[in-house]
Symmetry: C2
Subunit: 705 residues, 2 copies
């Protein structure tokens, strides 16, 4: 068996091993979380509410998704069974593409669901672990529980993604089959990221407006009827949604590079190489995780960041090792120079990801100038807080843009468009670490909430606060990674789309994407508008749902004054219900937009117009994702900076203004900003999936233009 | 003489006549404003403060500009005297280009200065005209004074622009000479728009924060030390700055079309045709103005909009007449079909401009859903006001993007890139009307201020309020026009730049702007970031200067309690000084950016990379200009909607929240948003001006990539 794989596509066994190790490790770590102390009775009750709310949401979401996936399966099946005029189409039979598509959605859905389950469980367990006489020990244990929970998500996502891609590629030897898997993962991400993002911010914004601003209740106060919905939101949006988002980018970067590798070089080695490089990244993440949990934690913040740096450094080594293996075992006569140049592009990618992450951190860290300037401007009121935050958000676009430009230029110089694609693979190679760090955040955030609602000591809450703050900083770096990687990934998808386009048009025609042609410019400008409209729809949904929830909370406080006195329990269910129904209903239009827009543009403007449309959406998507994520992060931390006692602390005008900024930033950074990544990825994959339909259009001219 | 012009470039005499008629009409109307009643003693005093403040600012600004223009003159002179290797460069001698450049800056500066002078004078005179027993008569007279003042600006801008372009083209028969004129006009616009925009919003924001929010003073209250600076700002930013901005776009659309006409068709008729079409637009504007001031004004709002519709309708007729004249008098053997297709592109342009304007109006009109929804969300506090406004701003990008895409597609189908350029000329043909309506706004805004400070009746203030509100709606439509026209203009400049590029590279090479090439994608992504950084710098400047002014106002109130009681006059000079110095100092970096960025990109990445860079800046510039202008306008009107008594009116949480939105929107809509138009125009003109420098770079490859 082993020798067969070796003969067929070189060193692909490494990928299989990595996927298995990753999933085994996830289950091993999960057992550790399962065994942890669940806390006192009140905590168990609150935990139960959160668990039920999250389960109810996921159940309804997955039911809706099932219909959506079924519908798209039919479309996929028909498209791939279509008797098209070129020899390109029969490469993948319809039934196989449908299986691959469903497999992708199931794999992503499974990893997201199981990862979230462990994350939810760890909410109360982290609080319980922090609740120790010895504060240092409490900090250490609580960090480990929450970090373990994050790792389960990180390893499940990486393992399921890599395993699925490996299986499909191994059994069919056709990267195009993997495309269906990627499209399936994207379908999940579309719902999980946008739906979860709307859910979490509906509850967060509403809880802040009535609880914090009107009634001056502290964060996570159990008297607030939206408190549980807020906690549920952290789990479904920030854990499940984020996991599905990165699963999506990860698989998309792999498929784009695999398709390019085969199209350009015609050798399976170059289509298998991104998988092997990703396996190397997975090992690097695993070693990094092992070293972190076994190190002494003086500062949780440093621990998390050290993990990212470690994984990056280790990846450079492990990737070199697998490159050597590929070089000496590949059955194709590959050039060693080309292989090492490709390795260089991947390493350059991960380093650029790190640089982008660090600049993101600069703009959102409360020890740096931007966040402090936002806090200071809050002393002049709400408006200047908003203006300063928004301006720094705009400013923060500069460094990553230069970073991506350099990454693109160097990667292209190393190995053409395949090099650019490999840079995206490199950036996402340590996705295990990125997801682990990201999922850690909401776990400790909720641990704090449960500690508050479970009546634990102020000092325990302070421990949770410190862990939470570390999560925010770690998140800044990983978020930069995620946005940069998404940009490069969709760029690679764009290149791959154009390459595929070349295969379905007659040999004597060339696809030109010259912006001097009006169809290209029109495609670009239409594409640029889509992330804006998409963001607007998502923010509106949060806005509208939050207003409904605000009214419900006010109604409860008015009709039952006992709630505010702490004598009567608030009706959490109603708020959970509003968030669940509202966020799923809100998904209809954005989902139609992300699938429908590329289909329409492709049908009317052909392959060149659609390529330009995708390029336009990448350009504005990158910019708006950075603006929204970074402004949102900075507003959040400026508020925390003031709450830490700076500039007069709580109760001042500066504090009120900083809460406004934080509330505005909530849907920016946790709903619209990250959902843009999913949007551009889904649109690019839709284009590639249904490219045969657009081949029916005139293609050397520009569709109707 | 007449026959000579006719022989040389067809019907160019029409342009000369139009320019002369326009300037004569401006002076004739100015005399009417000069004769109007200046109001009571207190009004004359306030008026004097405003006049002195505006004069001081303009004097300092023009002094700084003189150095800037002198420096660039040297660069222009050297570049055009350079002994370059292609036959393209010696077309224009250095000294001639410098003269043209200086002429452009002087013409724009003169029109802006004189127009503003009349506008400032009309501030008090409008208030005085409104101060009549018969309210209807007062409304009518006040409307006429302020509208006349606006017309002076509109006609001076059109006349000076058209006259300057005519003269240079007539005496040299070389459109490239006109390029210098356009670059000169852009230099002025860069300072006038960005500098004036920072000035006006520094004062406005600071006055609102301390006056309205902290001390609950009404708008324009004379006790507010920033009140006069606020009024000065309206004049230097919204009149002088706006005039320079449209002068810039107007000339740029002409030069781009002239260059393309000559390059593509090699016939002077097609290089003269845009001028003649613009002359037709000028006549249409003049007739429109005449009809409006002589009609009975039931509703000032309808009167202004009727003016725009009238001018549009008339333009379709006058343009047809001049096209007939050109068809039968042109010395070139031009094809009538081509001529009428070009006419069609121009007419299609102005219609699309109207559609864009009307959708802009939808998003900012307080009788429509978006603005009312923003007002309603204000009841839930500051954050939801911001989120709703921002979302509608994002949404408002959709219709104009579709409008521009259709305009581009149809214009291109009619007559290629020359057709696209002609669509921009068509959109700007009625610039006389656009500037008149735009300049009317700040005049009545200030009339209201002076009425308040001059102690006039509440009813007179109400008349001014009604006139002001009409100005806001008219502004929405003209703003849509301006942004759409700027986008098409820079697109035309881009096409012209690439055409020029083709002339300076060897014959066997082609400039490819295919986005599959990394240099093009890098150029695009760098270009996309520039309007973001530029906006951030401008908003920061407002933010920073406003904070300084806020401290100064608070200081005055604390040290002299008599000011708030109305017993002691506030020290206006200090605030004026802060705004003047702050805004000029803040111009250094944005100016360097807009001239330096295209130079650097061109030198490093060659003509293709720079073309892509410009395209990127057009894409994001268009989107951000729409977002900021429309969100800002909607916030402003949502506040007015509440102040009109809806949702509880003044003093409620909704009102406080709506003031926050208005304050955030101020630098969005009046500083950053419109300055982006200038930025992309200046960058495109810089590229075209210094194209010979970039020709030294490798051009068939992509510079360094």
């Amino acid at each position: 068996m082993l020798s067969e794989i070796l003969t067929e596509v070189g060193s692909l066994w490494i990928v299989f091993v990595a996927a298995v190790v990753s999933i085994v490790a996830a289950f091993y770590i999960k057992k550790g979380v399962d065994k942890a102390d669940p806390g006192n009775e009140q905590m168990v009750i609150v935990q139960g509410y959160i668990k039920n709310g999250a389960d109810a949401f996921i159940k309804r979401q997955y039911t809706t998704l099932a219909y959506f996936v079924a519908g798209l399966s039919v479309l996929v099946g028909i498209t791939y069974s279509y008797d098209a005029p070129t020899e390109y189409i029969p490469q993948v039979p319809g039934w196989l593409m449908v299986i691959s598509y469903i497999l992708g959605s199931v794999a992503s859905g499974w990893a997201g669901w199981l990862g979230m389950k462990v994350g939810v469980d760890a909410n109360a367990k982290t609080a319980a672990a922090a609740n120790k006489e010895d504060r240092d020990l409490g900090m250490n244990d609580a960090f480990n529980v929450s970090f373990y929970a994050g790792c389960v998500m990180g390893l499940l996502v990486t393992g399921a993604a890599l395993g699925g891609v490996w299986a499909l590629y191994y059994f069919t030897s056709n990267p195009r089959v993997v495309l269906g898997f990627s499209f399936g993962a994207s379908s999940i991400a579309l719902f999980a990221k946008a739906g979860g993002g709307i859910y979490t911010k509906t509850a967060d914004v509403a809880a802040d407006i009535v609880g914090k601003i009107e009634q001056s209740l502290p964060e996570d106060d159990p008297r607030n009827p939206a408190a549980v919905a807020d906690n549920v939101g952290d789990n479904v949006g920030d854990i499940a949604g984020m996991g599905a988002d990165l699963f999506d980018s990860y698989v998309a970067s792999l498929i784009a590079t695999m398709l390019l590798g085969l199209n350009i070089y015609g050798e399976h080695t170059f289509s298998a190489f991104p998988l092997i490089i990703s396996a190397a990244g997975l090992f690097a993440s695993l070693i990094g995780i092992y070293l972190i949990v076994n190190a002494k934690k003086e500062d949780p913040n440093d621990a998390l960041n050290r993990g990212t740096y470690l994984a990056t450094g280790l990846f450079i080594g492990t990737a070199a090792i697998v490159t050597v293996i590929v070089q000496f075992t590949s059955p194709d006569a590959v050039s060693a120079t080309r292989l090492w140049k490709t390795y260089g592009a991947a390493v350059f990618g991960v380093l650029c990801g790190l640089v982008i992450g660090i600049t993101t951190d600069y703009y959102t860290d409360d020890r740096k100038k931007p966040t402090q300037a936002i806090a200071e401007s809050s002393e002049q009121g709400h408006a200047l807080n908003i203006l300063t935050g928004f301006s720094y958000g705009l400013m923060s676009i500069g460094p990553p843009v230069i970073g991506i430009a350099i990454a693109m230029g160097v990667a292209y110089a190393l190995d053409g468009v395949y090099g650019v694609a490999m840079a995206s693979v490199g950036m996402l190679a340590i996705v295990g670490t990125i997801v682990s760090n990201d999922a850690y955040g909401p776990v400790v955030d909720n641990a704090r909430g449960i500690a508050e609602q479970g009546g634990l000591d102020e000092e325990v809450i302070a421990v949770c606060d410190r862990l939470d703050s570390a999560g925010n900083t770690a998140k800044a770096i990983t978020k930069g990674f995620a946005i940069g990687a998404a940009a490069l990934t969709v760029l690679a998808l764009l290149y791959s789309f154009v390459q595929s386009g070349h295969e379905i048009i007659p040999d004597d025609e060339v696809i030109s994407l010259d912006i001097q042609q009006p169809g290209i410019m029109i495609g670009l400008i239409l594409g640029v508008a889509v992330p804006c409209i998409y963001s607007a729809i998502l923010i509106f949904s949060v806005d509208k749902n939050a207003q409904i929830m605000v009214k419900e909370i006010r109604r409860q406080f008015e009709e039952e004054p006992g709630i505010l006195k702490g004598e009567v329990a608030a009706d959490f269910e109603r708020c959970i219900d509003i968030a669940t129904k509202g966020s799923l209903k809100a998904l209809v239009i954005p989902s139609l937009l992300s699938i429908g827009a590329p289909l329409l543009v492709g049908l009317f403007m052909g392959i060149p117009g659609l390529s330009a449309f995708l390029a336009g959406s990448i350009l504005s998507g990158f910019v708006f994702a950075l603006l929204m994520s970074n402004a949102g992060g900075a507003w959040d931390n400026a508020k925390k900076y003031i709450e830490d006692g700076h500039l007069g602390g709580k109760g001042t005008l500066a504090h009120a203004a900083s809460i406004t900024g934080d509330t505005v930033g909530d849907p920016f950074k946790d709903t619209a900003g990250p959902a843009i990544n999913t949007l551009i990825c889904v649109m690019s994959l839709t284009a590639e999936m249904f490219i045969t339909l657009f081949g029916l259009m005139p293609h050397s001219g520009l569709g109707f233009f």
